[in-house]
Every structure is written in C-alpha cells, then in structure tokens.
C-alpha cells in the first residue's frame, strides 16, 4: 500500500528563519511527487511536481527537491504570508493519476 508521511506536523518559524519540511514516501512506481499549499478554508493550491530523483524546482522562497525516498520543501527567509498548510502527495503506478496524500505540515511564520 502506498504511503506518504510528512514531518513535522507543525512548524513555527520567525520571519527570516529558513527551514525545511520533509515528505517520506513509499509509492510503488512513483510517477510524480506533488507539493501543494493550502490556506484555511480553501482548496489546495499547486506548487510543484517532481518526477525523478535529483530533480529540483524553485518558486520565490520555496525550493522542492526529490530523492528516491524523500522530498524536501526548503523555505528560505520566510515571511508571515508563507504561513499555511503544506501538503505532499505521490502518484504511483496505478492508472488515472490517483494521489496518496500526507497529513500535511502546518507552517506558522511569526513577524
């Protein structure tokens, strides 16, 4: 059974304090590893897709990386507006792109 585990469950940072969120996965025949941002009461917003180990993608203060067992979301010099829940999901060898989601990391950035 495919599994995605995120850590930590919650992370509190001071503005400007860089850190990383972890996503460990056991997904058979991984086809894609996805990161989403979700604000309270809203739907997840797509951030990145990573397809193979060694791949990296960046967007503003965020950088996602992928190994054969884990993905990291690095946040450089975060701002309060980066506060949100960050979700990781894997798509495996099953058809039609079904995703297995992690529980999410709640990030709070204090000014």
């Amino acid at each position: 059974e495919d599994q995605v585990t995120q850590s930590p469950e919650a992370l509190r940072l001071q503005e400007g304090e860089s850190s990383s969120l972890n996503c460990s996965y056991t997904v058979s025949g991984l086809r894609g590893l996805f990161w989403y941002r979700q604000d309270p009461g809203k739907g997840p917003e797509f951030l990145f897709t990573l397809y193979s180990a060694g791949e990296e993608k960046e967007k503003e203060r965020l950088k996602a990386t992928l190994t054969k067992k884990e993905s990291f979301l690095h946040i450089t010099a975060p701002k309060p507006e980066d506060s949100a829940t960050y979700l990781c999901a894997g798509s495996g060898g099953t058809s039609y792109g079904k995703l297995t989601f992690g529980q999410g990391t709640i990030l709070t950035v204090h000014p």
Binding site: R31, P44, F46, G92
Partner: protein, 113 residues
C-alpha cells in the same frame, strides 16, 4: 489559467436529505476526483472518473454516489445525508493517465444537522 469551480462554498443540510455537490472544470481534463478532508485524517478519495459516464470507487465510497454526464462536470451525491458526512469536500481534475498534476477547486464546507 486553470479553473475548477464548485457549486457552493458553504452548505447546511438536515439528516436524511439528498445532497448534490457539483464541480465544473474548464481545462478539458479527462480525470475528475472527489475528496473529503477532515482534521487529523487528511484528504481521502471518495470517487474518481476517468471519462464521461465512467467512475471508480476511491477509498471511502460508502454513502456517496457520483455522476459524470459531461466531460467538464462531475457531481457528488449524498443519497441520505448523515452527521458523519459533515466535512470539507474538494473536487480536483487532471489530464492524462501518467500522474499529471491535479488542480483543486475552492472546496465546499458541508454541515449536516
């Protein structure tokens, strides 16, 4: 720009009522998905559809049914709403069959009294 819309942001229904949640996407995506999201349980797949009139059960289909008569529209039906179906319902769509990105709608927060 990618667009997935859901018919209601908030909905309050009584136990036993039949409830329809509608999702529309304008990206000509083949695949559409319905999830529910609950604190501590994460996102759980209810049903998905990979083509018009085609549907597959997800992880928690009990108490739900779906309809996809047109490619752009995917409906989730609660035949007889119960209080344990109070939740945030999220619709998503994606293109193709090789793990392409799913794009989500804004969600419907359903309260069953």
């Amino acid at each position: 720009d990618v667009k997935v819309t859901q018919s209601s942001r908030y909905l309050v229904k009584r136990t036993g009522e039949k409830v329809f949640l509608e999702c529309v996407q304008d990206m000509d995506h083949e695949n559409m998905f319905w999830y529910r999201q609950d604190p501590g349980l994460g996102l759980r797949l209810i049903y998905f559809s990979y083509d018009v009139k085609m549907k597959e059960k997800g992880d928690i289909p009990e108490g739900y049914s779906v309809s996809r008569e047109k490619k752009e529209r995917f409906s989730l039906i609660l035949e007889s709403a119960s209080t344990n179906q109070t939740s945030m319902y999220l619709c998503a769509s994606s293109f193709g069959t090789r793990g392409e990105t799913q794009y989500f709608g804004p969600g419907t927060r359903l309260l069953v009294l």
